[in-house]
Symmetry: C2
Subunit: 474 residues, 2 copies
């Protein structure tokens, strides 16, 4: 593949038209405004000033494959701290004796990130957590949906509120931060939710939390609920989204647009079932919203290493389509895409791979390959030809790619041999090791191409670009 290092000129400055359009640029410099762009500049929006509560060591421990020994937990905590997350959330010390010991050890590391632990709304758990030296705060939680009240803890809203007030007052008396969250907020009664959030806000809770525990929420639903809550409480608002229906990253973004302040993430999104908003996915989404804030605050070039560390610890592969770090996230294949990317990367990229210490690739070994990609590869190989010859070479690559899967080495060999035939008058076969069947198919394909070219009355029509660049895009 062709690796390009061109600067992705317009990324971030006009990533989504209108978001950054008003940041002091003159009318002439400004991209044309799109009135339907995301409202990053809206007075409610925290798209340009969000904080991350990183929960790989809590939610992530609930992932089916997770078993974190103490040493692994420490490595992950240190890597997250290096990356620049604001908070690191740990499994409750009440979960097991080792969980309690690990909380103590991580609190003793002296990290820049604040350390939280996540406990049930229960005085026994709160006391155990508050006894841990160096802990910054507690995230307390209780289920408020009718499903959870009926089938899990069996408590009514009055009881929940009384317990919450007692626990919050206790944690505050110990000098620690405290967040109160409902569980399954989107299936809870709205009036019940607002009532309890108002009550805990009035006694000085630091944050209230909205949690889509089952992954049912949709983006506009999130926006509307957070915006309403923003009008009811004056404290910070933390949001936690499960990804069962593929909306966890989008929901986080809409929550920030509506005034949420903190987003829960985990590395690769690991957590219960198929997990929560992934740290990398959130970075991809937010850098489009406000590039300066994200680049200044987080060490994005560390993302790939952190993901590999966690993937290895829980014995999974990084998904092929992972945001930013998936193996093909910056690979361009169709002819039209490749041509434009080689001309200006912003045409088909909203993220700049170099922001993450990565490179882009232009694929040049398929039936969808266009002549611009072949020309670019020839130039990398130091093989210069005329545009007509690049186009003829491309037609050969495409004909062979129609017959069998080409490796990059195959394609380089075709290019080198074609160049030798054209420039040195040689007559070497373009590719070695074709079977008889493949040779017959290739002859047939070339006959069709020749016929098409003759029909149009010009022998180089194929080379002139019609089929060559006709690979679809969008």
């Amino acid at each position: 593949m062709v690796t390009t290092n061109g600067t992705n000129g317009t990324n971030g400055t006009n990533g989504t038209n209108g978001v950054n359009g008003t940041n002091g640029a003159s009318a002439a410099e400004r991209p044309s405004r799109n009135p339907y762009a995301s409202d990053g500049d809206n007075f409610l929006s925290n798209v340009g000033r969000f904080k991350i509560i990183e929960s790989t060591l809590r939610e992530g421990e609930q992932f089916a494959n997770s078993f974190f020994d103490t040493e692994t937990k420490i490595k992950i905590a240190q890597a997250l701290d290096d990356f620049g997350v604001d908070y690191i959330e740990l499994t409750s010390p009440a979960a097991s004796e080792q969980s309690r010991l690990d909380c103590e050890k991580i609190c003793a590391l002296g990290l820049k990130a604040k350390i939280l632990t996540h406990v049930r709304c229960h005085m026994d758990d709160a006391r155990m957590a508050c006894a841990i030296p160096g802990l910054s705060g507690l995230d307390i939680v209780i289920g408020t949906s009718s499903q959870l009240r009926e089938h899990s803890h069996g408590k009514d809203m009055d009881h929940i509120q009384r317990t919450a007030v007692e626990v919050i007052n206790y944690v505050k008396s110990q000098g620690l931060e405290v967040r109160f969250s409902s569980e399954d907020s989107f299936r809870s009664n709205l009036v019940d939710l607002l009532t309890i959030y108002r009550a805990v806000d009035q006694i000085g809770v630091n944050r209230v939390g909205i949690a889509d525990t089952v992954g049912c929420a949709s983006p506009r639903q999130v926006y509307d609920l957070v915006r309403t809550l923003r009008g009811v409480v004056s404290c910070d608002i933390e949001c936690h989204f499960h990804d069962d229906t593929g909306c966890a990253t989008a929901n986080a973004f809409c929550a920030l647009e509506a005034g949420a302040t903190h987003i829960d993430t985990s590395v690769l999104g690991i957590g219960e079932r198929n997990g929560i908003t992934p740290l990398g996915g959130l970075m991809a989404r937010m850098i489009v919203g406000n590039r300066d804030y994200v680049k200044d605050k987080y060490r994005l070039e560390k993302l790939k290493d952190i993901e590999n560390l966690v993937a290895s610890a829980v014995e999974i592969n990084v998904p092929f389509n992972n945001p930013i770090t998936g193996f093909c996230a910056f690979t361009h294949k169709a002819g039209i895409h490749a041509k434009a990317i080689l001309n200006n990367p912003s045409t088909y990229e909203i993220l700049n791979p170099s922001d993450f210490g990565l490179s882009r690739y232009v694929h040049f070994a398929s039936r969808l390959t266009g002549w611009n990609a072949i020309k670019s590869r020839c130039e990398q190989l130091g093989l210069h030809m005329s545009d007509t010859e690049y186009k003829q070479c491309t037609a050969k690559v495409k004909a062979l790619a129609d017959i069998r899967k080409l490796t990059l080495d195959d394609t380089d060999a075709i290019i080198r041999n074609f160049h030798k035939n054209v420039t040195a008058g040689a007559d070497v076969p373009l590719v070695e090791g074709l079977t008889q069947g493949e040779k017959r198919l290739l002859d047939e394909e070339e006959a069709v191409l020749d016929q098409a070219a003759n029909k149009k009355g010009k022998l180089d029509s194929v080379a002139a670009g019609l089929p060559v660049d006709a690979a679809n895009s969008v």
Copy 2:
């Protein structure tokens, strides 16, 4: 793990409160309405009547790893047709000679799904496509963003519109369906977009398309643009979302809420870079929006096989966190989750695995395990004990899981040995093969647990549920 086959009572009927709340249920049966629920019932919304344009054989062919030979294309087309997709979109016949031959073969299969091919907005390409017998329609596309107009094709909006009108009139004259789409719609000038969409609507285009070609769009931006377009054209609206910033599924949902009619998908989302809205992810999202429509129209139990077919063809693994079919999508681990799921699956599941021919699992081999999961497993193994004994057994499992990663076999062995010791007065070790170091750690852990129990003045306090069920949730 514990496999449960309980019916997920409330899924679909009140998946998200309010969405289905008004579907004829009496006030007493109705779940309490959430005014911030997704507006599936809104007059604009097509959440309950969307169509799928499946593009694995077009967008998916642009995935870096894709090489589909004819036989594979036919298998994929047949599988998608069995699944029930409305349209199957193929690579342009102008891309290569084999692409053209494959179009002909797939059109000749006599599938129920309509067959489309995706071509540049160019008369030569349109003529080549219209010559294919059995084709239902053409999806034509041209870049309209300033980025693409400047750095790709170099044409102005007037030229684009004249060409579009010529191509659309030609395709209609051939008796075929035709869609006109912009490319990179969210970075295009709004007035330019609406002008050209209105023009093609007036000459009878079947669908207009909005494409987030670079994956920059956010959900509320999508909603607003589609809603505006809905007021300008009377034809159908197709949407195509890339997933670079993790919003492709959410954006599809918001587009349907705003009045879009057709969504482009590919199996596992494969496509340029990290791809587009995945077929499975869209199913997960839409079944929460309107379970009856999705279940009646699509053969959801085929999803896993189709994904495996395509994953194998392009040599990738299904991501660990893939919606619905990821290996842990229905696995519940933390004590609180497991307890509630065993009681009623709707507590922590918005999707019902049996809708997809799958099962749920309750994890019972970790430090986060609660006694309800152990009790459930004991019952499956036919080992009956008192609740106090189940809790004591759970404390042993948790203590061992604190020291090393337990396999399911390990945990079954612990349970069997504990049962033997308790009921038959035996004194067998709970687990074989502990190292000296592990034995020492276990002794320490048990001493701490005993001390804690003594401190609280009741020997079975640990077993009574405090640390046992304290694993976090949300």
